[in-house]
Amino acid sequence: MCRLSAITASDYFSPMETIMALETMKEGHDGSGLGLMLKNLGGDFEGLKEYPILSGICSQKGMTLLDDFMKSKGFRVKHMWTPRIKPMPGIQKRDFYIAKAYEYPEEWRDRPMSEKEDLLMRTRLELRAIGEPDQSIFAFSFYPDVLTLKEVGDPLEVAQFFGLDKSDSLKAKIALAQGRQNTNYAIYLYACHPFFIQGYASMTNGENTAFVPIREFLMSRGNPGYIGYNSDSEVFTHILHYTCRTLGFPLNYYKDVITPLKDSEIEGRSDREALGLMKKSLRPLCIDGPNCVIGFTPDGTVFMVQDSKKLRPGAVGGVKGKYALMSEECGITRAIPERDQSTDIYPMKYDMVIISPNAEEVTVWNQLRN
């Protein structure tokens, strides 16, 4: 089973903290891959907040294709970051690991953010389409202040491979890391968590038994971004995006979408009328677990939520200004050893832990009480 490690803080921290927490959970993953997603970047990117960052992997050929394509679309490179690779046995180095910050094309600079988000998503998808057939380009995310690294191998070794332990060039206030346990699918970079779409990201452990109907529902929504699905967990990110961005629902309704209440329970909610309609119309997006989902939204809110039977537990703990959301308790201890363990939160099946931007406030939202 995959292991999940997330930290949100008011100050910048090294992503290694998330990786080291993941390392304590090593017996739960087989080291078949690491996915790392950073938001609210410090280090090299601290002064580049408004510029979208394209994160991905390219072959020699892919790099040329990518540069030509981005140039043709009017994107101009503002900054490029590449990891200082330290060769590690067992990790096959690819040609280029990139995080490029671009200036928007001239005619897009004054457009509203929602339109820019559409442009960025379309551009990422076009790059994916160009590079996927021969795996010359992997484009993981293209969004301001978000950076993604993914590679196959043991998480700690992958982090060392990227030189994250030796450099301060990458820092962030939010980091999601997933240690991959390869089960159902061949190891493929697009199947590695965390997944990202237009500012929304999530990572998950467990199997999604309702994957096919959910995928079919999302793919029929007419959003070009709802593609991929090399992992059955990618739908969790897209459900989040669909709930919050497309439908405009507040974040806590994500819980109501993926784990709807029984009718008798809905009766106790003040928004029962809306919930009754939602439950019917969003029926295909109901999950059955077992899953623990950790993710963030564009404003920097970080959350944790479980399937309705809590078949995959998770824990949240920390101190004011820094919280860890982990699939295992030991991860929190490693990440924030100074916290008072007795204040740790173990969200139950009706709970959703929501940590506000800059790790200011932790809320346990209860689905029954709203």
Binding site: M1, T183, N184, G206, E207, T209, A210, F211, V212, P213, E216, F217, S220, R221, G222, Y242, T246, L247, G248, F249, P250, Y253, T259, P260, K262, D263, S270, D271, E273, A274, L275, L277, M278, K280, S281, L282, R283, P284, C286, I287, D288, G289, P290, S308, K309, L311, N370
Partner: protein
């Protein structure tokens, strides 16, 4: 020289031409006469036969013969009195001396056309092969990759929705103080939460009073005591007015078909109805007999039936094969749905039922564009009927599995798979695997399934099978008392027992559905369209249904 007419037996039938041959054991028979009395078609009759008895006494053979007269049971060779194999004779025989045996060499259909009268019967398609639905297996088992659910411990919600469901993008919701609130300006179509197995349309009239009453009592018990929202369709012919005006009306789907029988009574009852019906089903076709209309024979039209249907007693009640008001699918179906919706103030889901057909997708797409269409029920070729031409039953129609699947995938391509529920009927439980068939159809894309024959067999011990056994539903001489209005026959059926069996069937189906869904990791919502859960050991079927091949 003898005339040819005395020599030529070409036009006589031998017993080998008949579908069932009576095996009668003279040595066991007590000559009680029960079998010949009970035979619904007079295929066997008591008779006397002169026999030569050869005997020998003493140490060495000294045979002597004498003639004796014996009472025997003989099988008729009159094609109009063919043995249907129902086996009622065996049921009543105290000495196990008689039984019908199927004769696979029979040439019954070749001769069953005397006087130009095409063979008509009740029952189902005479095809004993294993249906496609029964070939589907559930192969996606969560076990070690992730914990499976426990059918006995975890909470399951085996429920479906009947009614038009708004797409999420069109929900009239707004955010107020961080909460979603419903805005009032938009029409919300009515939606019912139901158990995903329904009792399909069988009319008061086609069924005996005891059978229908038993089914209705069972359904009411399931709803009110077991908490299972099982619904049942009236079939064409209305409901008894007292039931219409009772609080139980909400468990019934009222069917309107091409004869509009029963609707005068229904329309007059509307002002006095305490509850809305579960739904209105507009029958355009029946899977067992596409293109064949309905027919209730005169001798079934007794006082109650005549009253409910608003017709004189003892006349044939024929429903045309098509709705006579129908001009085109676009306007006629829309108008019918609109009219029926209006009758109950748009509080009741209204949907059409059609026979399985290559044209089902055309109907579906029409309905998908009609915001008042609440569902589409497709009745496959393995469905049953009370009366039809044999040729319609055996050779007309479309298998349900691929029909539902292509319709579901069509909805998926439009993003409307959750908006218009598909209901699959025809052959559910044909091989006895009701829950498995229902689960398979759900995973192919159905929201619910209908049963007819299955409940008649399990609740009323109907004798019919795919070897043309019994199938006398059209004659009013049902030996079980299920499809007859003859009190001498229907008193054989205890409505309380029927109700008990209905409850048994649904409780077991509920358990078995959970036993299927649990290891597949599904418990909260019905796994509609979860086609990755299915496999079949036939490449052509796998390809057609878009599921995996496993062998």
């Amino acid at each position: 020289m003898e005339p040819a007419s005395q020599l030529d037996s070409n036009y006589d039938l031998s017993i080998q031409d008949f579908p069932y041959i009576i095996e009668w054991r003279e040595d066991r028979c007590t000559r009680c006469g029960k079998c010949t009395a009970v035979c619904p078609v007079k295929a066997i009759t008591p008779s006397v036969a002169a026999q030569r008895l050869v005997e020998s006494e003493g140490a060495s053979p000294m045979p002597t013969s004498k003639k004796v007269t014996r009472h025997v049971v003989v099988q008729s060779r009159d094609i109009d009195r063919y043995c249907t194999g129902c086996g009622t004779c065996s049921l009543v025989c105290p000495a196990e001396a008689i039984k019908p045996v199927y004769n696979s060499h029979n040439r019954f259909l070749i001769y069953k056309n005397k006087k130009g009268d095409a063979f008509k019967r009740g029952g189902r398609r005479n095809d004993p092969s294993i249906s496609t639905v029964d070939k589907l297996k559930f192969t996606r088992i969560s076990m070690l990759t992730d914990p499976a659910l426990d059918a006995g411990r975890h909470e399951f919600r085996v429920r479906s929705l009947l009614g038009r469901i708004l797409p999420p993008e069109e929900l009239p919701l707004a955010v107020k103080d961080g909460k979603l609130v419903k805005m009032n300006e938009k029409f919300i179509p009515p939606v019912r939460e139901i158990f995903p197995i329904r009792i399909g349309s069988m009319s008061v009239g086609a069924l005996s009073p005891t059978m229908w009453e038993g089914l209705a009592m069972g359904v009411a018990y399931l709803n009110e005591v077991e908490g299972m929202p099982v619904v049942m369709c009236s079939g064409e012919g209305g409901l008894p007015p007292r039931l219409l005006k009772s609080r139980f009306a909400k468990y019934f789907i009222l069917q309107i078909a091409s004869g509009y029988f029963g609707w005068d009574e229904i329309v007059h009852a509307i002002p006095d109805m305490k509850e809305d019906p579960a739904a209105i089903e507009i029958k355009y076709g029946q899977g067992a007999k596409p293109g064949d209309g309905g027919l209730l024979m005169a001798y079934k039209v007794l006082k109650l039936i005549a009253k409910i249907r608003g017709v004189p007693e003892f006349i044939d009640l024929a429903s045309p094969p098509t709705h006579q008001t129908k001009y085109s699918i676009e306007e006629a179906v829309a108008k019918m749905i609109q009219a029926m919706s209006m009758a109950w103030g748009f509080r009741v889901p209204v949907y059409p039922k059609i026979s399985g057909s290559k044209t089902a997708r055309a109907v579906l797409n029409n309905l998908a564009r009609n915001p008042y269409a609440a569902a589409l029920c497709i009745d496959g070729e393995d469905g049953g009927t009370g009366a039809a031409y044999n040729v319609s039953m055996d050779k007309m129609g479309h298998p349900i599995a691929s029909n539902i699947r292509e319709c579901y995938l069509d909805l998926v391509s439009q993003g409307k798979q959750n908006e218009l529920p598909l209901i699959a009927a025809g052959g559910m439980g044909k091989g006895g695997h009701l829950a498995a068939n229902a689960a398979a159809m759900i995973m192919l894309g159905a929201s619910a399934v209908d049963i007819g024959k299955y409940i008649m067999q399990s609740a009323g011990n109907c004798l019919g099978d795919e070897y043309n056994r019994c199938n006398l539903c059209n004659t009013g001489r049902c030996p079980r008392g299920i499809t007859t209005q003859d009190p001498r026959l229907y008193r054989r059926l205890d409505p309380d027992m029927v109700a008990q069996r209905v409850v048994d069937v649904f409780r077991v189906a509920d358990v078995e559905l959970k036993k299927i869904f649990a290891p597949m990791g599904r418990s909260t919502e019905l796994p509609i369209g979860m086609s990755d859960g299915l496999s079949v050991a036939d490449r052509a079927i796998a390809e057609r249904l878009g599921i995996s091949y496993a062998c």
